[in-house]
């Protein structure tokens, strides 16, 4: 019985981060980058790399900030750390995938104030032990990444009728899906789908 506890906890970590408490679809956090930047699979992929590196490294480094420090100072330190983490990530982006990252525009540096860093880390991540915290951050970030790719895929395929250079045989395209309001509507429908699945799981169990 005792041996099952850690794995159950770990299952919950995966399930919560990816699904039950999904950053975008269930919690309504880090919405702007998805709406603005995940318009194609390629731009969603650039967003995923930028977001994952900035958030994971920032939360990891910020976890060493002493908890007895005044909260107002801690919150400034978190964003300063994020802004410093942004520098090597931007250099990396510039060196290897300049074209893809330039499509993010100002959304790239704006990732330093994302809600996982500003709010979720303080009220949730930093209350856990280090290993559990790293696992939770990883799966919350992964939850965001999965949504970004799905939204990018759905918007690209239905707005342009193509994925990258490959034209898909869709005769009825909805170009408005590439706009901000199109993004909100796609994310809203995906959030409803996730909620429906959760309701089905709950009623079955």
């Amino acid at each position: 019985m005792e041996n099952n506890k850690p794995s159950k906890k770990f299952d919950k970590t995966i399930f919560d981060g990816l699904f039950m408490k999904n950053t975008v679809l269930a919690s309504g956090l880090v919405v702007a980058p998805i709406i603005v930047s995940a318009t194609t699979v390629q731009s969603a992929f650039a967003l995923v790399i930028a977001f994952s590196l900035i958030t994971f490294l920032t939360v990891l480094i910020s976890s060493f900030v002493p908890r007895d420090m005044v909260y107002a100072v801690r919150i400034i330190l978190y964003t300063v750390i994020a802004a410093m983490v942004y520098v090597p990530v931007a250099v990396f982006a510039d060196s290897f995938m300049e074209q893809q990252f330039s499509s993010l525009g100002i959304m790239f540096p704006l990732l330093i104030t994302n809600s996982l860093i500003i709010t979720r880390s303080e009220i949730h991540f930093f209350k856990l032990d280090k290993l559990r915290m790293l696992a939770e951050v990883f799966f919350y970030v992964l939850g965001f990444d999965v949504v970004a790719i799905i939204v990018g895929f759905v918007r690209e395929i239905f707005a342009t009728g193509a994925i990258g250079d490959k034209i898909i045989g869709i005769h009825f395209t909805l170009p408005f899906l590439s706009t901000t309001f199109g993004g909100f509507i796609v994310v809203g429908i995906l959030a409803a789908l996730l909620k429906k699945i959760k309701l089905i799981i709950r009623s079955n169990s």
Binding site: A32, T79, F176
Partner: protein
Amino acid sequence: MDVIINAVLISLTAILIENTVFSKALGTSTLFLAARSKKQFFSFGLCITYFSVVSSALSYFADYFFKDNEYSYLFMPLIYVLIIGAVYTITLLVIWKLAYPFFLSIKKFIHVSAFNCAVLGALFTNALTEKSLIEYVAYALGTGLGFIIAAFLVTAVYERLYSEDISPSFRGLPITYIYVGILAMAFYGLSGGTIVI
């Protein structure tokens, strides 16, 4: 007179055409937080307006000094964060010292209203085009007021969005996204945009 008219036009553009939430989705998660309480959304919005305006005024000088530096894109986020951090710290100290009851009332959300995409986004958007100090401030003011309008429009129907009238799958966050999307579409139309289907 021209300066004032220009500033008003820039503010109106930031409120209606380039609304921080409806046209750029910036500060959406903060909006969801602010819209939860009818009492709190206005003070939340005012805090965002305050931080946008003061930080933008200071960022004008930072942009002026560093605009020609080829590596500015790397360190400007840090400079902006330090500016917002300084404004945030000084504001907290002043309010704590001079108006402690007010400090207690905004304590819960002041950190979120300082460090969010809407405030930082105003600073970055200002830097994209050549503007004067007054225009910087006018744009930031419009950003804050635009956020207040967006928060008002969501707060006004917040209870309905979570009511039993909405199907369980869409109730709450999903319908809120779609509602904000429809509002964003209306604002898009306001800016002269048309939808191609």
